[in-house]
C-alpha cells in the first residue's frame, strides 16, 4: 500500500437523493470526515407560508417520494393540535394502517434492492436478481403489497391524495381492505423468511455507543404517536423536542444537521433504536422472531439495522392484518371538520428511516404563518460522520475500491433519504502522511 495516495468515488449509489463524502487521512489517521449534501434546496418551509391548512399534507408529501405518508402524518397531527381537533379512534387506526403500508413498501425496497446487495457482494438488486431471482422477486412482491395497501387507503402509492387534516377524504370500503388479507398473510410469512435470510448475512463487528432516539408509546410499537425517549434517559413529550434537539447549518450542505442539546452531540434515529427501545411493544410474531434471530438485544451495531428493518416488516404486516380484521364498519364520518384559526402545534411520527418532526403556526387569517420540518436523515447526518470516523481506522489498509465500498455500505445502514434532508454521494479520500490541503470536488453528475 503506497503511503501517499488519493482516491475518489464518483457517487454513492443506492440512496435517495444526492450528496458527497469527503475523507482525509493523514499518516494513516482519520483527520476529517464530511458529508456534503448538495441536493438543491427546495424551500418547502418558505412556500408553505400563506397556504391553506387543508393544502399542507398534499404539499409536504412532495418532500419525499419514498416516504410521503410520513410527511403527511406529521403534518396532519401537528395541525390538528394547532386547531384543537381530535379525529378519534377510527381515524387513528386507519392512519396506523396507512403507515404500515409505507413501512412495508419502504423497508422491502431498502432490504432487497438497496442494502442486501452490499452484504452479498452485488452492485445492485438488479444484479442480485441474476443469481437470486427468487429472493428479489419475493422482495418486489412484498413491496407491491405495501404499495397496494397505500393505494386502497391513500388513492395511490406515491403522494397519496386521500390524507387530510381531520382524517381521510373518504373512508376505505370494508371489502376493498378485506380483499388485501390473503396477500398480507403471504407478506407476513415472507417477512419472517426475510428476517431469517438477512440474519444469516456476515456483519462487521462494529459496536458504537450511539444515543438511540425514537418515539415510545405505552401500548403500541411507535408510528404515529408517543413520547420522545433515548437510551440515555431522555423521556419528554414531543412538545419539548426543540428544547432537546437543535438544527445547525453547516457549510457545503443544503441539509441542516441536528444535534442533541446541551452537549451538541450526535444521535441515531431509525429502525435500530425503535427495536431496541420498544422491543416489548413489537407484535407477537415480530417479538418471537426477533428473540430467535440470533441477535442479542439491545444491539449497538447499525450494520444490523437490516435485521431491525426485517423485524419491523413482520410487525407492520401483522399489525395491518389485525387492523383490517377489526375493520367491520366504515366510520360514519371520515373527516373531522374544523374552522382554520390561529394556533400553534407540533408533532413527531416515525418515518421508516426515523423520527420526523413538524411544527406549524397558523396565523389570524387561518393560513400557515410558519413551518418547521426536521427530517430523519438530517438528524442522522452527524451520526453518520461520527460512525465513519470510528469505522475508518479499521479499513484504511484495504485497497481503495474496497475501503470505498465499505464506507458506502456503512452509509446505507442509515437508509438515508437525502432528498428529504434536501440531497448522492461522492467519496473522496485523501491519503497523505503530511498535513494535506482539503479539496472538495464538485460531483460529476451525469
Amino acid at each position: 500500500m503506497p503511503a501517499n495516495r488519493k482516491f475518489e468515488v464518483k457517487a454513492l449509489s443506492r440512496v435517495e437523493g444526492e450528496g458527497a463524502l469527503y475523507v482525509k487521512l493523514e499518516g494513516g489517521q482519520v483527520d476529517w470526515v464530511e458529508l456534503n449534501i448538495y441536493e438543491p434546496p427546495r424551500f418547502f418551509e418558505a412556500f408553505l407560508r400563506g397556504r391553506k391548512v387543508r393544502e399542507v399534507p398534499d404539499i409536504t408529501a412532495r418532500i419525499c417520494g419514498i416516504c410521503p405518508v410520513a410527511y403527511q402524518m406529521s403534518s396532519c397531527h401537528a395541525l390538528e393540535k394547532a386547531l384543537g381537533i381530535d379525529p378519534g379512534p377510527e381515524i387513528r387506526r386507519l392512519r396506523r394502517l396507512l403507515y404500515c403500508g409505507e413501512w412495508i413498501e419502504s423497508h422491502a425496497l431498502h432490504i432487497y434492492l438497496l442494502h442486501a446487495p452490499d452484504f452479498l457482494g452485488y452492485e445492485s438488486g438488479i444484479s442480485l436478481a441474476a443469481d437470486h431471482r427468487d429472493a428479489v422477486e419475493k422482495g418486489l412482491r412484498l413491496k407491491k403489497i405495501g404499495n397496494e395497501l397505500l393505494t386502497v387507503l391513500g388513492g395511490r402509492a406515491i403522494h397519496p391524495i386521500n390524507v387530510a387534516v381531520g382524517g381521510f377524504h373518504r373512508a376505505p370500503s370494508r371489502s376493498a381492505l378485506k380483499a388485501l388479507l390473503p396477500d398480507l398473510e403471504w407478506a407476513l410469512q415472507a417477512s419472517i423468511e426475510t428476517l431469517q435470510w438477512v440474519s444469516a448475512f456476515d456483519f462487521p463487528d462494529h459496536q458504537v455507543d450511539y444515543e438511540m432516539v425514537c418515539l415510545r408509546h405505552p401500548h403500541e410499537f411507535p408510528m404515529n404517536e408517543g413520547r420522545i425517549v433515548s437510551d440515555r434517559g431522555l423521556d419528554v413529550p414531543v412538545d419539548e423536542y426543540e428544547g432537546h434537539f437543535q438544527e445547525r447549518h453547516v457549510p457545503q450542505s443544503t441539509a441542516l444537521h441536528s444535534v442533541r442539546m446541551p452537549g451538541m452531540t450526535s444521535y441515531l434515529v431509525g429502525p435500530l433504536p425503535r427495536v431496541n427501545l420498544c422491543f416489548d411493544q413489537l407484535s407477537p410474531t415480530a417479538k418471537r422472531q426477533a428473540e430467535a434471530c440470533g441477535v442479542e438485544w439491545p444491539c449497538r451495531n447499525n450494520f444490523k439495522s437490516i435485521i431491525a428493518r426485517a423485524i419491523e416488516l413482520i410487525d407492520a404486516c401483522e399489525e395491518a392484518i389485525a387492523i383490517i380484521k377489526e375493520y367491520n364498519t366504515e366510520p360514519s364520518s371520515s373527516l373531522a371538520s374544523y374552522i382554520p384559526r390561529a394556533g400553534q402545534g407540533c408533532h413527531a411520527t416515525e418515518a421508516p428511516r426515523g423520527l420526523l418532526y413538524h411544527r406549524y403556526r397558523i396565523g389570524d387569517d387561518g393560513l400557515i404563518a410558519e413551518a418547521k420540518i426536521v427530517p430523519p436523515t438530517s438528524q442522522n447526518l452527524g451520526q453518520i460522520e461520527d460512525d465513519l470516523r470510528a469505522y475508518l481506522p479499521g479499513i484504511v489498509n484495504l485497497d481503495d475500491a474496497e475501503a470505498t465500498r465499505r464506507c458506502e455500505h456503512l452509509i446505507r445502514n442509515y437508509d438515508p433519504c437525502i432528498s428529504c434532508a434536501t440531497h448522492f454521494l461522492r467519496l473522496t479520500i485523501d491519503r497523505n502522511p503530511e498535513p494535506a490541503v482539503c479539496t472538495i470536488n464538485p460531483m460529476q453528475r451525469g
Binding site: A11, S13, R14, V15, G17, E18, P40, P41, R42, F43, F44, E45, A46, F47, R51, K52, E55, D58, I59, R62, C64, G65, I66, L109, L113, L114, P117, E123, S124, G125, I126, S127, A129, R133, V136, E137, L140, K143, K144, N147, G155, R156, I158, H159, I161, A164, H169, R170, R248, H249, V250, P251, Q252, T254, L256, S419, F424, P442, R445, G446
Partner: protein, 265 residues
C-alpha cells in the same frame, strides 16, 4: 445486438418519479432484461458511460450547475424524456418563481451565505430539446412502462391528452364541481392518474398539468361566478404544475384582475 442503454438522471425533485420504475414490481426485472439500465444511481452502483439510447430526466433546474449538466446530458442521449411535474413544469419548488428567493433562503437556512441557488425553478425543456414529456406528480408507472416498451419497438408512446373529466366519467364518479360546487381542476388537467381525487370525493389539483387547449379563462370565470374567491383560485392553480404556462398565465391574470378590482373598490 447489444441491448439499448437506459439512463436515469435526477435534478431537483423528491425521487418519486424515478422510484416509479422500481415500483413497477411486476415489470422491473423484464425491463432490466430488455434494456441495459446503464446509469441509475438510486438503484445501482454500476455506472456505464454514455452515450445512452434513452435518458429519463427527473427534477427541475434550480442551480447554475444544473444548467451546464443538463446540456451535457442532452449531448449523451439519443432520446431525452422529461418525467414528472418537476421536469415538465418546474414542480412545487417553482413556487419560488413568484417569491423573493433570498427571503426563502433566510426563512429556511440559518447561514444563507452557504446556499447557492438560482432565482427560479424551471422545466428541462426551457434549457434543452426534450423529445417527450411524461406528466404527473408522480408519473403513472404504467405510462413509464408503456414509454419504454414503445421505445423498444420504435413507435411513439400512447399517452392520452384528454382531460381528467373523461377518466372521471369512465370511473363513474359523481362530478364534485357540479354536484357539490367544489372548484376542481379536472376539466383543464391532462388525464393519466385515473381520476383518483374525484373518486375520493375531493377536487383534482392538477398533478398532470394543463391538458391541450384548456380553457382556463372560462373555467376560472365559472368558479368565480359561483362564489370561489380569486385568492383561492390562484392557490388551486399554483401547485405542482403552477409554473406550466397555461396555469401560470391564468393565476397571474386572476391576481391582476383581483388587484385592480381591489384598487378600484
Amino acid at each position: 445486438m447489444p441491448k439499448p442503454k437506459l439512463a436515469v438522471f435526477k435534478f431537483s425533485s423528491c425521487d418519486g418519479c424515478q422510484l416509479s420504475l422500481l415500483d413497477a414490481e411486476d415489470e422491473l426485472l423484464a425491463v432490466a432484461d430488455a434494456v441495459e439500465i446503464a446509469y441509475f444511481l438510486e438503484a445501482r452502483t454500476q455506472q456505464i458511460a454514455g452515450p445512452y439510447d434513452v435518458g429519463l430526466v427527473e427534477g427541475s433546474i434550480t442551480t447554475a450547475h444544473d444548467v451546464a449538466r443538463i446540456k451535457m446530458i442532452r449531448r449523451q442521449c439519443r432520446f431525452l424524456v422529461a418525467i414528472g411535474a418537476c421536469a415538465t413544469s418546474g414542480g412545487i419548488q417553482a413556487l419560488k418563481n413568484w417569491g423573493n428567493v433570498q427571503e426563502f433562503v433566510r426563512a429556511v437556512y440559518a447561514t444563507p451565505d452557504y446556499i447557492n441557488t438560482l432565482a427560479t425553478s424551471t422545466p428541462i425543456a426551457d434549457h434543452v430539446l426534450v423529445d417527450f414529456e411524461l406528466r404527473g406528480c408522480p408519473i403513472n408507472k404504467m405510462q413509464l412502462v408503456e414509454l419504454i416498451a414503445a421505445f423498444l419497438i420504435g413507435r411513439r408512446p400512447w399517452v392520452p391528452r384528454h382531460s381528467v373529466c373523461v377518466e372521471c366519467k369512465r370511473r363513474r364518479a359523481v362530478c364534485i364541481a357540479v354536484a357539490q360546487g367544489i372548484p376542481c381542476l379536472g376539466p383543464v388537467t391532462q388525464a393519466g392518474c385515473g381520476a383518483i381525487c374525484p373518486s375520493f370525493h375531493r377536487e383534482c389539483f392538477g398533478c398532470y398539468g394543463p391538458k391541450e387547449q384548456a380553457n382556463l379563462v372560462s373555467l376560472a370565470g365559472f368558479y368565480g361566478d359561483h362564489g370561489t374567491a380569486p385568492r383561492d383560485l390562484v392557490q388551486l392553480l399554483r401547485n405542482f404544475n403552477g409554473y406550466a404556462p397555461e396555469f401560470r398565465e391564468a393565476s397571474n391574470a386572476i391576481e391582476r384582475e383581483d388587484l385592480s378590482a381591489g384598487t378600484a373598490g
